[in-house]
């Protein structure tokens, strides 16, 4: 009906998607060069909250971890999704994942399994899945998590 997007703020610019590409595709965070503290998300351009150093190096976090807590959306909340996430309906499974480095990733999502199969404490691995559209119309992709099959 309308050729132009109704909500400008709902669609992130392609340049932002590009800036975050290493986080989304490889789980790339930061390690403080001064005190060694690991940080997620990346603190590139920021300051270490532990020692105030501004010097970081990239750190690729483990792609496997443990499901710390989860919440399947269909369990309770039927709410309008954020702009750009309508295609996922009410089937998303929200989660926080604990990595072997002691860092938590979350909020994040569990995919490729039924909600009833999701249990806190289960081993999960990172997968790359279709995410949301960029402002130029391209689809972008991001990390999500799926159970590790024995």
């Amino acid at each position: 009906m309308f050729p132009e997007p109704l909500y400008r703020h709902g669609v992130y610019r392609t340049t932002k998607q590009w800036r975050h590409r290493k986080e989304r595709y490889r789980l790339m965070g930061s390690r403080c060069k001064n005190c060694g503290q690991l940080w997620w998300p990346s603190r590139e351009g920021k300051v270490c909250g532990k020692c105030c150093s501004r010097s970081f190096e990239e750190y690729e976090f483990s792609h496997e971890g443990e499901l710390f807590v989860n919440f399947p959306e269909e369990k309770r909340y039927m709410i309008p999704p954020l702009q750009g996430f309508e295609v996922y309906g009410d089937t998303r499974i929200y989660a926080m994942v604990k990595l072997p480095e002691g860092i938590y990733i979350g909020p994040t999502e569990i995919v490729d399994c039924k909600p009833e199969q999701v249990k806190n404490g289960m081993k999960v691995k990172m997968v790359t899945r279709k995410f949301r559209r960029e402002s130029n119309g391209n689809w972008s992709y991001s990390f999500m998590w799926t159970p590790v099959s024995d």
Partner: protein, 414 residues
């Protein structure tokens, strides 16, 4: 540093009757109404032109149709060329405004500062997108998560910490209390609305889908009334404590105030590696604990001296940590404190006496100034049917977005 007092308070009602024509009102009308109510509430008189500075806050950037909003507010209030600091800190924003305004008066820079918190709901952003700006937007919103979904994760963590059945029972207890208080406050959103829950047992008997399964019955949620988002504003006037009685016979003094920040990202709250925060996880809500401790220290009081509280409690899990932060319930016994009715009118710590954020109405930008308004009304003994028996000392605990920060005030009558 000078002592600081509240000389006048103002508010816009959140009753259904008042909000019936909310679509006809702009945020500016709410700001004007609450601010001029506060000025007129200064019982010995205050000329609006004597206001020297304004500190204002709202939910977050882009929630109203204005940018660089300070001069707009100054103009709206007819106060040009008075300066206005405008800030955003979601639901604890008005506490941050109070904190900054306090400094302006305590330092001696100004003698009459107006503080206003306001919120207009859906003029620009739709519901989901507005909620999303209550977090670490660069990450949460970008990844497609909004406030309620993050709250749901916190809720799951809280079940683990406190026990699911007990949390739900505390929630039902508090919701019933919310209706009780709100029906004693004509300004509250739920005023005149009977509580749909006839007894606690009515819901607790059905909370579990199958006995022993631990799965919550969807009907439980359907029958449990939630906190309703509304809009409006509240305001107050700060003056030097030693001059307060020139303005009013009933000054209320701010004897302790603090503002503390934690990460706005839940995963970072799990391990933030600084000594003050590292011992807490996301569901502990570190910020209000730190802020309350600092405010008590400043006021030179302990929790035993606190008579009542106004805390941020619109979410299922926020009531427990914010109450726990007051240090009045015994450590680790906050759920029992609620279940035993200690937050009711005749309890140890009456809390949310205006109906609370749930019953009065959740108004992000003014949540904490609404609490301050109620505290002042109680301390002046003007709360009629919801008057608490003892109102000498009150603690007001705010909370921002994903529990990222908290502003706290300790108010004293004398």
């Amino acid at each position: 540093m000078r002592r600081v007092a509240i000389a006048g308070v103002g508010i816009t009602p959140r009753s259904n009757a008042y909000l019936a024509d909310a679509d006809r009102k702009s945020w500016k009308q709410y700001v004007v109404e609450s601010c001029y109510n506060a000025i007129e509430n200064v019982s010995k008189g205050l000329d609006p032109k004597d206001i020297q500075y304004v500190v204002a806050n709202y939910h977050g950037e882009a929630t109203v149709e204005a940018g660089g909003i300070g001069p707009v507010i100054s103009d709206t209030l007819g106060l040009h060329p008075v300066g206005v600091t405008a800030l955003c800190a979601n639901c604890t924003g008005a506490g941050v405004s109070a904190h900054d305004a306090y400094g302006l008066v305590a330092s001696g820079l100004y003698d009459r500062v107006l503080v206003v918190g306001f919120d207009k709901r859906w003029d620009m952003l739709r519901f989901a997108d507005k909620r999303a700006i209550g977090g670490d937007v660069e990450y949460d919103c970008y990844m497609g998560f909004d406030h309620i979904q993050l709250q749901a994760l916190l809720q799951e963590m809280a079940y683990r910490k406190y026990g699911k059945e007990k949390i739900l029972e505390a929630l039902v207890t508090y919701r019933i209390q919310m209706y009780d208080y709100a029906n004693r406050n004509p300004n509250a959103n739920l005023y005149g609305v009977p509580c749909p829950i006839k007894s606690k047992e009515e819901l607790m008997d059905i909370w579990e889908l199958e006995p022993g399964s631990g799965e919550i019955n969807p009907d439980f949620w359907k029958r449990l009334p939630g906190a309703k988002p509304v809009e409006g504003a509240s305001a107050f006037v700060l003056v030097p404590g030693d001059e307060a009685r020139q303005y009013t016979d009933k000054p209320i003094y701010i004897d302790g105030i603090s503002y503390r920040c934690n990460s706005h990202l839940l995963s970072s709250q799990m391990y933030y590696p600084v000594p003050e925060l590292v011992g807490y996880d996301a569901v502990d809500f570190a910020a209000p604990r730190l802020a309350v401790s600092e405010a008590y220290k400043m006021a030179k009081i302990g929790p035993e001296e606190v008579d009542f509280s106004e805390v941020f409690e619109s979410h299922i899990t926020s009531i427990i940590p914010t109450l726990e932060a007051t240090q009045v319930p015994p450590e680790g016994k906050t759920v029992d404190f609620i279940l035993n009715g200690e937050t009711g009118l005749d309890g140890r710590l009456p809390t949310g006496t205006d109906g609370g954020r749930g019953g009065f109405g959740v108004t992000s930008g003014s949540n904490q100034s609404d609490g301050i308004y109620e505290a002042v009304v109680q301390m002046r003994e003007e709360a009629a049917g919801r008057q608490v028996p003892k109102a000498d000392v009150c603690v007001v605990v705010g909370m921002q977005g994903e529990m990222a920060s908290s502003a706290v005030l300790v108010l004293r009558r004398n």
